[in-house]
Amino acid sequence: MDASSSLRVAAELSELETIRRFVEQHATALRIDPSAIDDLLLVVNEIATNSILHGYRKQPGTIEVAMRPIGDAVEICVRDHAPPFDPTQAPSPDLHVPLAQRPLGGMGVHLARQLIDSLTYRITPDGWNELTLVKYRIVPHLPQEEPDGFNN
């Protein structure tokens, strides 16, 4: 059975809740622990927000989110057709400066790196930015149901 799921939405901030709901529903269906679901929600939200604000710069566009289990891991791909940009190359923020010296924002990629196990970027053959995040050991193994009438 194909357990992958995908969503396509307009690249608008009002769609962030739609994206989160999609991730939550499918993660819940995979019986992922709520704490891990929260991590996935936040990371996908941050990626999508960056796409809308910095990729498309609030111009019209599309965001795709595809999600699938791979063994005990979940893989989520977030794609957009904004100008090519690799957020994985963003420098880590300095977290030890006083508050007034901190720039506003800039924490999205940092949070993503802290909360998921793998974050990779590529440009797809058709020119889309694609960020792939993987979080391991969160999809529980469920024993397979025995078919009716099975006898040892």
Partner: protein, 136 residues
Amino acid sequence: MDLTIEQAQGRVPVAILRIKGALDASNYEDVIVKARELYDAGARHLLVDMAEMHFMSSSGLVALHSIVMLLRGQPSPDPEMGWQAFHALGHDRDTGKQPHVKLLNPQPKIRQILQITNMDEFFEIHTDLQTAVASF
């Protein structure tokens, strides 16, 4: 997201800003606007009640950061200007927890976000409303 305001009195007047729902890039500016209204009305101490806030993205951190600067009477940093704007503010005298904005009952995942970003260094976090109000 719903925002409600309540006034409390400890040693000083405290405005309680209660945020319910999800705080993200689509609505974080509403929080800043509400805080600015409170400031314009005379509020100088703000308790952010996060007990019913089930989601906060990094935009929520921007809102909190902006509110602190607002209640300090400092111009809110311009995110478009990058680091130059911040060096121009001069070195901040304050390190550690600032006295103007405190947090009440952030949910565990939101508390984790504050820790991951070291923002918890700047905010007192309380679990009891009366204690929080009295702490200002």
